[in-house]
């Protein structure tokens, strides 16, 4: 018990001794950075795993502008403590010890690093490319500095080796990447016996746009606009994440009023998306009535956004150093009125949803992600909370106003579709409360403060609870104070993997329902 109470930082120093060298170049200082020798990188992971830490993200940097090779980074979290471990990797021998055997969640992070940066995870059981499809030339690593982002690449021939299942009555169902509905592209391959799914393999990357690479040719200010477009339905959260990381690296802080308005926009985004999702999940069980009713509610919120802020999804409202819009007294009362009517209507729909046994029959027990598996895979956000995990970045890593207005974290144990619907319902209710509190105590003051470019080599990190879950942004300034590397970790990057596990033992026609209850982003995953 005493051992577990020890902080991650102390545990790491105790285990690695002088090999864990603190680096003060990453801000805020509350997220410490330790540099470890490459040989002890995996050991550090095991030490932190023993302290019940979760692998939050793993990424690679090309540090040739600093005259170094590659950097491999891992971000961990336990309770309210975040900690970064880095190891250097020589340019001519780009290989680092894989963390996959310690952390399941490292599986796709490392495949991504291998595909896009060309650093090899030694000991990784799966060396197939991820995100970068096989029609790319093998030696094209777009995140390396030596790769010119404007090069036109020739398509090459290649094969993707799918996981196979053989036996009496086993058949394969390939679904996508183009779907019948208007959704993003992604390929799902099922192995099924009759209607029972024995394996699902996802293949994503169809919406890879090279966003991370694109950042490196943008100014810090323009970066906020691109960050708001990582995933269109999460524009506020991603722009907030980028801006907070930039502000940390640059050593400036958004004024209090700006931070509160950011939270207001973030909670509005959460409500609109959750309400839309509840309808969409019902629609996948052919309960169309709720889809259209929730669509009306969501539309009402988007129209208020358009009237008050000039954009339906409130894109580009969060800017480095503050916000681009104010909430006037008139706007505040308009939001209060809208919330009153949305809240009343929402409660009516929740009752309809609860009172419908045919819908309940579909959502209970479908797509169960056990608490143990959710923890093991490092799942975040509403999916984690539906599987019994007490995770909410607004509570564990509070930025104003969440230190004053503490969100309630709904937590369910069953981990099925119903739990994920219900977490959304509770979060909508709580977000309405938070917005009301924000409007009541909104501090006055300026909206934006001047933000200098970060010093050369400075790094900034931020943690934001978007509506899907915890979003990480990590920025690194180059030698000329330009963007050297921008890393975005959408919740989808960890949670897509969990969907594969949650679906086992379900039947094929229940997949759309389970998938919609996760509703992960393709764009945010593929970048």
């Amino acid at each position: 018990m005493k051992k577990n109470a020890m902080s991650l930082r102390d545990a790491l120093i105790e285990a690695l001794g002088a090999d864990a060298a603190p680096n003060a170049g990453q801000y805020p200082a509350s997220v410490p950075l330790f540099e470890a020798p490459k040989a002890r990188f995996a050991e550090a992971a095991a030490v932190l795993k023993a302290r019940e830490a979760r692998l939050v993200a793993e990424w690679a940097t090309d540090e040739t502008p600093f005259g170094r090779g590659f950097g491999v980074w891992a971000l961990y979290n336990a309770g309210d403590e975040y900690l970064t471990v880095k190891c250097g990797v020589p340019y001519d021998a780009p290989e680092f010890p894989s963390l996959t055997k310690t952390y399941l969640g490292a599986w796709r992070f490392e495949r991504r690093m291998q595909s896009l940066m060309g650093v090899e995870p030694a000991g990784h059981p799966d060396t197939r490319p991820w995100i970068k499809h096989e029609d790319w030339p093998k030696d094209a690593f777009p995140l390396r500095k030596s790769f010119d982002g404007e090069t036109y690449l020739q398509r090459v021939e290649g094969d993707y080796r799918w996981v196979r299942a053989e036996g009496e009555g086993v058949y394969e169902i390939p679904v996508g990447p183009v779907h019948a509905g208007i959704i993003e592209p992604g390929h799902f391959r099922f192995q099924a016996v009759g209607e029972d799914i024995i394996n699902l393999e996802e293949r994503l990357g169809y919406v890879h746009k090279g966003i991370e690479k694109r950042f490196e040719s943008l100014s810090w200010t323009d970066g906020a606009r691109l960050a708001g477009r990582v995933s269109g339905d999460t524009t506020v959260a991603h722009a907030m994440g980028y801006c907070q990381a930039l502000e940390a690296a640059a050593g400036c802080a958004a004024p209090p009023r700006a931070q509160w308005i950011r939270a207001l926009l973030l909670e509005r985004e959460r409500i609109a998306n959750h309400i839309g999702d509840i309808g969409a999940i019902s629609n996948d069980a052919a309960f169309t009535f709720l889809l259209y009713q929730t669509a009306i509610l969501r539309e009402r919120m988007l129209r208020t956004n358009k009237t008050l802020f000039g954009h339906r999804l409130t894109m580009d409202m969060v800017v480095p150093g503050g916000v681009a819009v104010d909430v006037s007294a008139g706007a505040a009362s308009a939001i209060q009125d809208e919330l009153a009517s949305v809240s009343g209507e929402f409660e009516r729909l929740v009752r309809i949803c609860e009172d419908n046994p045919s819908l309940e029959d579909r959502v209970y027990g479908a797509g169960t992600l056990s608490a143990a598996l959710a923890k093991e895979m490092g799942v975040v956000g509403l999916v984690a909370r539906a599987s019994g995990q007490n995770l909410d970045a607004r509570v564990q890593y509070p930025t104003p106003p969440y230190a004053d207005i503490i969100p309630a974290v709904p937590r369910l144990r069953s981990g099925d579709v119903h739990a994920r619907v219900w977490v959304r319902v509770e979060e909508v209710r709580d977000s309405i409360r938070i917005i009301r509190e924000i409007l009541r105590y909104l501090p006055s003051g300026p909206l934006v403060t001047g933000c200098p470019a970060p010093r050369p080599g400075a790094m900034g990190i931020s943690v934001v609870e978007g509506w899907r879950g915890e979003i990480i942004w990590w920025l690194q300034a180059g030698p000329k104070s330009e963007i050297n590397r921008a890393m975005a970790r959408d919740p989808s990057m960890v949670t897509w993997l969990a969907l594969e596990q949650a679906i086992k033992g379900n039947i094929v026609p229940d997949f759309p329902l389970c998938n919609k209850s996760f509703n992960q982003s393709y764009s945010g995953n593929d970048l």
Binding site: A180, S282, S358, D361, I507, P509
Partner: protein, 313 residues
């Protein structure tokens, strides 16, 4: 004889023309129930018209079955439209084909649609065919049991004779018919692919039953399949009307009754459409493995109807 043949032709033309209207009515009510603006009563006609003018795309490895299936399905539904007394009992086809033949005609349509689903070799087609066959194997016996109960009452399996008997006998409440009606309604939901068994409006390939089989179709082939599907819904509604509520239908050599027959049919179908929408708005689709239980209930109800005929009547 000429009169009968002209009535027969009139009825087939009527079924062809009115089936999309009925579907348009159901869709319109559904839109209103959801609080949406509807595309209007005539949208199904526009859809069929549009599809007829679109090009047909056929998989390279598709065989003649794939090309023939839409025509066979459509033809079977037209034939069924001549067997079921929709507006009049004066149908020569109804005399030559009884209710068992009718079930067989629908089975032929289904058989070829299922074959065509597997023909192109896609995963969805095979999946849809297998599910359709699962539903069919349970729905068809339940349907026969339900209709046989009425045959017992009428002493015939010929549809026009059955309608004729219930038209000419005094109105008495028969428990056997109540059971048979319930069974028939459940079977009709499954046969026509409505919620809670199947969802005709879904875009989710993995959840489809009937739609999964016809995913590969396009252009005029799809138009025929859609039209046939609309006729099937119309015919099941009309069959329900003919078996359980035939009052107002034109009898033998009674052309003056025809206007009344049209009006009463329209009113009854409008009510059935409203009932469909009521059910579909209230219910989510059931898990596919609950469909056998659902059809099992239909079979038991039909059996109860038959038993109660022997015991009570």
């Amino acid at each position: 004889m000429i009169y009968s043949i002209s009535i027969e032709c009139l009825q087939i033309a009527f079924v062809l023309g009115a089936a999309p209207l009925f579907v348009g009515w159901v869709r319109m009510l559904k839109c209103w129930a959801h609080g949406r603006a509807s595309a209007g009563l005539l949208q199904p006609y526009r859809d069929i018209y549009k599809l007829f003018y679109k090009d047909v795309t056929i998989a390279r490895n598709a065989s003649w079955i794939f090309r023939a299936a839409p025509y066979i399905t459509f033809g079977a539904c037209v034939l069924a439209g001549g067997i079921i007394p929709v507006i009049s009992t004066d149908l020569p086809l109804s005399l030559s084909a009884d209710v068992i033949a009718l079930v067989a005609v629908f089975a032929i349509a289904r058989f070829f649609t299922a074959l065509a689903g597997m023909d192109a070799g896609t995963a969805f087609g095979g999946m849809g065919s297998s599910r359709e066959m699962m539903v069919a194997s349970l729905a068809e016996p339940a349907m026969l049991m339900s209709v046989f109960t009425i045959s017992l009452v009428a002493g015939s399996t010929t549809l026009s004779q059955m309608v004729h008997v219930s038209l000419s006998s005094p109105l008495v409440l028969r428990p056997s018919l109540a059971f048979a009606l319930l069974a028939f309604a459940l079977v009709a939901i499954a046969e026509t692919g409505r919620i809670p068994v199947d969802n005709p409006a879904t875009h989710l390939e993995l959840t489809m039953i009937h739609e999964a089989m016809v995913l590969e179709y396009s252009g005029r082939h799809l138009a025929l399949i859609e039209w046939a599907g609309e006729m099937k819904l119309f015919l099941f509604a009309s069959l329900g009307v003919a078996l359980f509520f035939p009052w107002g239908m034109a009898g033998v050599y009674n052309p003056l009754m025809l206007p009344v027959a049209f009006v009463s049919l329209a009113a009854k179908l409008a009510a059935i459409g409203a009932a469909i929408v009521l059910v579909e708005t209230r219910l989510a689709k059931m898990r596919i493995f609950h469909v056998p239980e659902f059809l099992g209930i239909a079979f038991i109800l039909a059996t109860l109807g038959m038993l109660s005929f022997f015991m009570l009547e």
